[in-house]
Amino acid sequence: MTEDSNHIAKEHQIPSTNEFIKGIWKDNPVFVQVLGMCPVLAVSNTALNALAMGLATAFVLLMSNILVSALRNFIPKQVRIASYILIIATFVTITDYTIQAISVDLHKSLGAFISLIVVNCLILSRAEAFASKNTLGKSILDALGMGLGFTIALFSLGAVREILGNGSFFGLNLFGDNFQEWIVMILPAGGFFTLALWLLLFNLIQSKNN
């Protein structure tokens, strides 16, 4: 048999906990797959925004994975992308209303990016590449892992950018009045810098482990 099919056969034997762990470490959506860069760069300017955005995305990912996996034998392959988008958009709308109902201020600070979760390629790629081919249990674990990995990544960017760019953490002032904010860190450019540093660190650790 070819190497490819061997590889696929091996993937199927992996115990289920790996479906969860891989999203956090080996296949981290941000640090390894570099997916969903729009919200990663745009909404990671404060720790709270990053955390809220990460959790909102994880919720949408989980719910869409559940539905896509449950309906995988019902959706004909010609209309699968349209169906996935419909499902994802529904849960994005639900998230949007829920966040509004929780706090007007939070909704204010996340702005247009909640609605933009719908075009986050991470969610569509998990639906297409994983949930549509795997059982419900596996898909749930996959979504939880990927969602958590995405949240952790967003939060690590948000924390660094808020501390350096605003001198605070979750809105708490850290350094007193004399701190000169490093404004570039909360601008889009700072998002790229911080992401690059995290990628560097992540890849260094991974290459050492290998």
């Binding site: 309906l71 829920t98 706090s103 404004i183 601008l187």
Partner: protein, 220 residues
């Protein structure tokens, strides 16, 4: 031929069934969420607006809503209304302190909605609060967070001309640190467009509302 046509028809039905089915479930879920969060969202918005009224008219203890109908103000008993609304703030002795006026205009990212307080006796703007904006986080959103910028609106001069038809001096946003006159708004470095937008919104709204308020001043 007929066999392949049958297969095609069957797969069409399948597709249609899948799309309509998923569409119906999604529509149901959205309606369900909308209905269950609607009253809570309305309450939160109403609370945010009420809090904002007290912020922009310092010293207020009670408020009343007024609607402009056919050129005169009618007190609103219910919350729902189609016409333009403004809010009057009173102190403990039921004396009028000022008005909270909603206004909106184009900012950098999207429409900015604000509420500002106006004191008719001294003809000054005494407070400004951003109700809704999608300005760039960290830059444009300084219009709501920057303490120095907010100081602009604790006593902004909006004196009207003798006929009470328009402001003597337009409200303008000037470059940061160059404010010389009481009708100027000191801008924010790095948020030029957003801070200018606030000045323009105030100027337009004040020129529109202040003469109307003055002409109907005995109705409050």
């Amino acid at each position: 031929m007929s066999n392949s046509a049958q297969i095609a028809k069957k797969s069409n039905t399948k597709m249609l069934r899948a799309m309509v089915g998923i569409g119906a479930v999604c529509a149901f879920l959205i309606v369900l969420t909308y209905e269950s969060t609607f009253s809570r969202i309305q309450t939160l918005r109403e609370n945010a607006l009420q809090e904002a009224i007290f912020k922009v008219i310092p010293g207020t203890t009670t408020t009343k809503s007024f609607e402009l109908k056919d050129g005169s103000f009618v007190e609103l008993k219910e919350k729902k209304s189609d016409g333009p609304i403004l809010y009057a703030g009173y102190n403990d002795n039921d004396e009028l302190i000022g008005f909270a006026i909603p206004a909106e205009g184009q900012g950098y990212a999207d429409v900015i909605r604000i509420l500002y307080g106006y004191e008719p006796e001294k003809q000054t703007i005494i407070g400004m609060y951003v109700l809704e904006s999608k300005e760039t986080p960290g830059l444009g959103d300084k219009i709501e967070k920057d303490e120095k910028f907010r100081q602009n609106f604790t006593a902004l001069y909006v004196k009207m001309n003798e006929e009470n038809s328009k402001l003597i001096n337009s409200i303008v946003t000037v470059k940061s640190g160059t404010k010389n006159n009481p009708w100027e708004v000191d801008g924010i470095t790095g948020a030029t467009i957003s801070s200018r937008a606030i000045g323009d919104i105030l100027d337009k709204s004040a020129n529109h509302w202040l003469p109307i308020i003055e002409a109907n001043s005995e109705e409050f």
